[in-house]
Amino acid sequence: MDQIADDEFLDIYHRNIKRVYQISMLYLKNITDAEDSTQIVFLKYLKSKKTFNTLEHEEAWFIRVTMNHCKDVQRCWWKSHRVDIEKIPEVHTTEENEFALLKEELLELPNKYKEVLFLYYFEGFAVKEISKHLKRNESTIRTQLSKGRELLKINMGGYYEEKY
């Protein structure tokens, strides 16, 4: 029988489901693939029977495994050659339209910018931590953050105090 108890797994699931799904959405850009990827990552966790010393360790493991899994999926031939039927245009107000366009811009960014922006702005990691997670130089992370913002044409203000 599984060594990870149901209630223990439920706690871990609720602590990580949002970030695993969001990372999957960032990479795979559609709900079906993101849901599949999320389930596979949690099944990998159950299979690995991994124990974490700290919450940071747990968080880092889920981020890394999700990113690696999504990159695997992206490398698959069938994935890169198929057309998503989920991209059905929705009716929006002008403000919603701007937001939807910005969201589309974010999803279309190259992986290296998306992951850095996500970890910095959403997960609240400092550049040093991101550098450790992604195994890239701190200066590279700073450049990618700046380039990512530029590509997104972010002039939304308020959130960009530097944590270098």
Binding site: Q22, E35, T38, L43, K103
Partner: protein
Amino acid sequence: MKKNINDLFDSLSPSESQIDKMYRSINQNRNTSSWHLSLKSYALVGSIVMVIIICTCSVVLYLNQNNKQDNYQEVSNTRNLANSQETGFGGFVVTTYLTKESQEYLGGNYVEESKGSRLALKTRLLLPTYDLLSSMTPGYPFTFELSDRDSNGITLKIEVDNGQFLTWNSESGKVSEIGTIAMSKTGETLYWSPIIHDAKNTRTASEATIKVIALDKDKIIATQEILITESDHRYYAELGELIILAE
């Protein structure tokens, strides 16, 4: 309504119903896996008993058949050991990823999820299934090292007569074509791809010989070959004899 980047990421969050749906699905798969696992363990016990019976009967025949080959291997190993002691060269360590199931593909996380195995002398070992469309790695990973840690100044030259070598950065996904000759640092991983692009078409190599050469400046100290063969769409690797050339 001024939105910020956090709102953007927040808009990618799953809904409550999605969270519930995925949790139910994970639990279902988890239980299915457990059920399969218990069934598998019963099958495994039965198989082990069968295997023991078959092995007992086969061992005598096997020992007789391989007697000559064992003697030959012993002689060549002794010769290599003698050469190693004379020259101080400790030999090569060639590591790759093996499988026991013929249909197992190598995933992109293979370093974290699998265990690299050292190739054994004159023993044919099964590699994971390679398929251009399904495999997550660009070829078969081989890591070449010198077993002697004090072999400073010795460089490794790796050659292959069929297919080609590639390097792969698993983080960025970048694949670089190296060709059929590579200068490798000890401990570096090269990917051997059986795919051959000719002027006319693309085909798959059914066999190849990888030659590892230890060089002290331009002088060849030792060489060893890895024979890769294909049978029924499955690739096998076998380590050849170590040849020490320097006196």
